[in-house]
Symmetry: C2
Subunit: 448 residues, 2 copies
C-alpha cells in the first residue's frame, strides 16, 4: 500500500502544471536569445544611456530619463503611468584633494552622497591613517583636528561598505575634521568610487569622500614610515530641498486576476559618475524587455505583470519605500516581487526568498530554463527596493549573475556600456521573462 501525503500530491500537481509551460518557455527563450528580440535590451540600454548619461536623484537628467522611459514604453504599446515620489537632492559640486606634505600629489576623489561641503577655501589638515574602526578607537586621541584616512582592506562589499557609510560619523566622534575613505572595490586603476553615506544623529557632520585604493595605500606606507602627511580637501557639495520625481510603472494586465501582481523591477536612477549602464540601467531594461517579449508573443498571463523602474534607489531605496507605503494595503495581491540590481552579466541563478512551499514551486519553474542551462535556484532574494515586501512576507526573487568584476565598476566612471554584453543581456531577459510569466500565469498565487 502506498500512502501519499497531501504535500506530495501538491508538489506532483504543481510540477505537472509547470512542466506544461515548457513550450511557452521555449518560445520566450527563442525569441529573446535567438529570434527577433535578440540584443534588443542591449540596444535599448545603449540608446538610453548614450542619450541621457547618468541620472542622480534630484537631477534634471533623472527627469529626462523618466520622460524617456515613459515615452519609450508607451510607444512599445504598454500601459504606462508615473507615481509621484519625493526624493533627496544632493549636488556634488566642484571637488578636489591634494596631498601637500610630504610632496604635492593630486588625489582622485569622489565626494559621498549626503556629505556636507568644506568652506570655499577647503580644509587643510594633518592626516591620521587607520586601517579599521578598531584602530581608530585605539588612536582616538590622535584624531583631533585631523583628516582621517581609512585604508581598510576590501573583504566583501557587504562588510567593507560600513567604512563608506559610517566612516565620517565615527571619525567626527573622535574630533576629525574630514574623512577620506579608500574606495569599496577589490580592484582599481586609480579609480575612485562614490556612494551614499549616513551621518549619525547628534554627531558633527564633516565632509567625506572616497579616494583610490592606490592613494590610500600610498598614505598608509608614508604613515608607517613615520612621515607627516598634510592634505587640502575642497568640496562644494550641497543638499537642496527634496525634489519631485516618479516611479515609472508599465504593465500587462492579467486576464483573470488583474488585481494580482507579479512585480519586475530595476532602478532608473544612478550615481552622478559613469553612465549608470550596469547600476542599474541593465536591470531596468530587462524588466521592460519582459513585457515586450510577452506582448510580442501575444501572451497574456492570468495575473498582472508589472514593471516598476524605481527612482532614488541609490539614496536608500527612497522611491521603492514610498511605493511600498502606498501599495502595502494590497499586499495580499502581491504574488512575487522581483528585482535585478546586481548587474546583467551572464546569469548564474535566480535568488529566491519565500516559504518552503513557495520554494518547491520555484524549483519547478527554473527547470523551464533548461534550454539555456540556467536552472539554479539560490536562497536569499535580494534588492534594496523589494526588501520591504520580502520583510512583510511576500516572496521575492533577484537575478544573480557572474559578477566577479561588478564592484570594479560600481559607482565609478567605469560604469558604462563597455561592461555590458548583448548576449548576456539576452539570457538575463529570457530568464527574467520565463520566471515572471509562468508565476503570473499559474492557477494559484505562490504560497506564503
Amino acid at each position: 500500500m502506498i500512502i501519499t501525503s497531501p504535500c506530495f500530491l501538491y508538489t506532483s500537481d504543481i510540477a505537472t502544471e509547470i512542466a506544461d509551460y515548457a513550450d511557452v518557455a521555449k518560445r520566450i527563450i527563442d525569441l529573446a536569445v535567438f529570434g527577433a528580440a535578440q540584443n534588443r535590451s542591449y540596444r535599448r540600454l545603449a540608446d538610453f544611456t548614450d542619450t541621457i548619461g547618468n541620472r542622480v536623484s534630484g537631477s534634471e537628467n533623472l527627469n529626462m530619463a523618466i520622460k524617456y522611459m515613459y515615452n519609450a514604453m508607451t510607444q512599445d504599446g504598454l500601459d504606462v503611468h508615473l507615481e509621484p515620489v519625493k526624493i533627496p537632492h544632493w549636488v556634488r559640486g566642484k571637488e578636489s584633494a591634494v596631498m601637500i606634505v610630504p610632496r604635492v600629489k593630486n588625489l582622485a576623489i569622489l565626494g559621498l552622497g549626503s556629505s556636507v561641503g568644506t568652506p570655499p577655501e577647503g580644509i587643510e589638515a594633518e592626516v591620521l591613517v587607520v586601517q579599521s574602526f578598531e584602530e581608530l578607537k585605539h588612536r582616538a586621541s590622535e584624531a583631533t583636528g585631523k583628516i582621517v584616512v581609512f585604508n581598510q582592506p576590501f573583504v566583501s562589499y557587504g562588510e567593507t561598505v560600513a567604512y563608506r557609510a559610517y566612516g565620517a560619523s565615527e571619525a567626527a566622534k573622535v574630533g576629525a575634521v574630514a574623512t577620506l575613505i579608500r574606495s569599496i572595490t577589490p580592484f582599481s586603476i586609480n579609480s575612485p568610487h562614490t556612494g551614499w553615506q549616513d551621518y549619525q544623529d547628534g554627531v558633527k557632520r564633516i565632509p567625506t569622500a572616497c579616494i583610490t585604493v592606490e592613494d590610500a595605500e600610498l598614505m598608509w606606507r608614508l604613515s608607517k614610515r613615520g612621515q607627516k602627511i598634510m592634505i587640502r580637501v575642497t568640496m562644494a557639495a550641497k543638499t537642496f530641498p527634496d525634489a519631485d520625481s516618479f516611479n515609472t510603472v508599465a504593465e500587462i494586465k492579467g486576464w483573470q486576476h488583474p488585481e494580482q501582481v507579479v512585480l519586475l523591477s530595476g532602478h532608473l536612477d544612478s550615481w552622478d559618475v559613469g553612465q549608470g549602464a550596469m547600476d542599474d540601467g541593465g536591470g531596468a531594461m530587462i524588466s521592460w524587455e519582459v513585457l515586450s517579449l510577452i506582448k510580442d508573443l501575444g501572451l497574456r498571463p492570468r495575473r498582472t505583470l508589472r514593471t516598476v523602474l524605481w527612482t532614488a534607489e541609490e539614496q536608500g531605496g527612497v522611491g521603492a519605500q514610498q511605493y511600498y507605503n502606498l501599495h502595502k494595503v494590497n499586499i495580499s495581491n502581491f504574488d512575487l516581487v522581483m528585482e535585478s540590481d546586481l548587474g546583467t552579466f551572464r546569469p548564474e541563478a535566480l535568488q529566491f526568498t519565500g516559504s518552503d512551499a513557495a520554494r518547491k514551486v520555484m524549483e519547478e519553474v527554473v527547470k523551464l530554463l533548461a534550454p539555456i542551462n540556467m536552472t539554479k535556484l539560490e536562497t536569499h532574494g535580494e534588492g534594496t527596493d523589494i526588501s520591504p515586501w520580502m520583510q512583510a512576507g511576500v516572496p521575492g526573487a533577484s537575478l544573480y549573475v557572474a559578477d566577479s568584476r561588478y564592484f570594479w565598476f560600481h559607482h565609478s566612471e567605469g560604469d558604462t556600456m563597455s561592461v555590458q554584453d548583448p548576449q548576456d543581456m539576452n539570457l538575463c531577459s529570457a530568464l527574467w521573462a520565463v520566471v515572471s510569466f509562468v508565476v503570473a500565469d499559474l492557477q494559484d498565487m505562490l504560497p506564503r
Copy 2:
C-alpha cells in the same frame, strides 16, 4: 669508438663550467628570495616612488629621481657616476575635452608626448569616428575640418600602438584639425593612457590625445546611429628646448677583465601620470638589487657588472641612444646587455637574442634557476634601450613576466605601487642576479 665533435666538446665543457655555479646561484637565490634581502627591491621601489612620484623627461622630478638614485646607490657602497644626456622637454599643461553635441559629457583625456597644444580657447569641431587607418582613407573627404576619433580595437600593443604613434599625422594629411585616439589597452575603468607620438615631416602638426575605450565606443555608437557629434578640446601642451639629464651608472668592477661588461638596466624616467612604479621603477630597482646582492655575498665576477638607469626612454630611448653612441667604440667589450622594461611581475622566462652558440651557453645558465623553477629561455631579447647593441651584434637579454595586466596600467594613473608584489620582485631580482653574475664570471665572453 666514439667520435666527439668540437662543438660537443665545447658544449660539454661550458656545461660543466656553468653547472659548477649551482652553489653560488643557490646562495644568490636564498639571499634574494628567503634571506636578508627579501623584499628589499620592493621596499626600495616603494620608498623611491612614494618620495619622488612620476618623473617625465625634462621635469624637475626626473632630476630629483637621478639625485635620489645616485645618493642611494652610493650609500649602498657602489661605484656610481652620471653620464650627461640631452633629453626632450615636453610639458602637458592643462588639458580637457568635452563632448558638447549631442549632449554635454566630459571626456577623460591624456595628451600625447610631443603633441602641440590648441589655441587657448580650444578647438571646437565636428567629429569623424573611424575604426582604422583603412576606414580613414576611404572617408578622407569627410575628414576636412573635423576632429578625427580613432576607435581602433585593441589587437596587441605592438600592433595597435601605431594609432597612437601615427594617428595625428595620418588624420592631418586628410585635413583633420585634431585627433582623439582610443587608449592602447585591452581593459579600462574609463582610464586614459598617454605615450609618445611621432609627427611626420612636412605634415601639419595637430593636437593629439588619447581618450578612454569607453568614450571611443560611445562616440562610435552615436556615429553609427547617424548622430552628429561635436567636441571642444583644449590642450596647453608645449615643447621646450632640450634639457640636461643623465644616465645613472653603478658598477662592480671585474677582477680579471674590468674593461669587459655585462650591462643590466631599466629606465628611471616615466610618464607624467601615475607613479612609474611598473614602467619602469621595477626594472630599475632589480637592476640595482643585483649589485647589492653580489656585494652582500662578497662576490666579485671576472668582468664588470654595470647597472645603467636610462633617462628619457619614453621619448624613444634617448638616453640609451646617446650611451650607445658614446660607448660603441668599445663594443667588443660588451659581453651581454640586459634590460627589464616589461614589468617586474612573476618572472616567466629570460628572453634572449644572440648566436646559436651563445644561446647554448644561456641554456645552461638558466638551468641554475631550477631552485625557483624559472629555467625557460625564450627567443628575442627586447628593450628599447638595449636594441642598438643587439642590432650591432651584442647578445641581449630581457625579463619576461606574467604580464596579462601590464597594459591595463601602462602609461596611466594606474601605474602605482599597488600593482607590485614583493615576492614577485624577489624572484625577478634572483633571476636577474644569477644570470648576470654567472655570465660575467665565465672564463670566456659569450660567443657572438
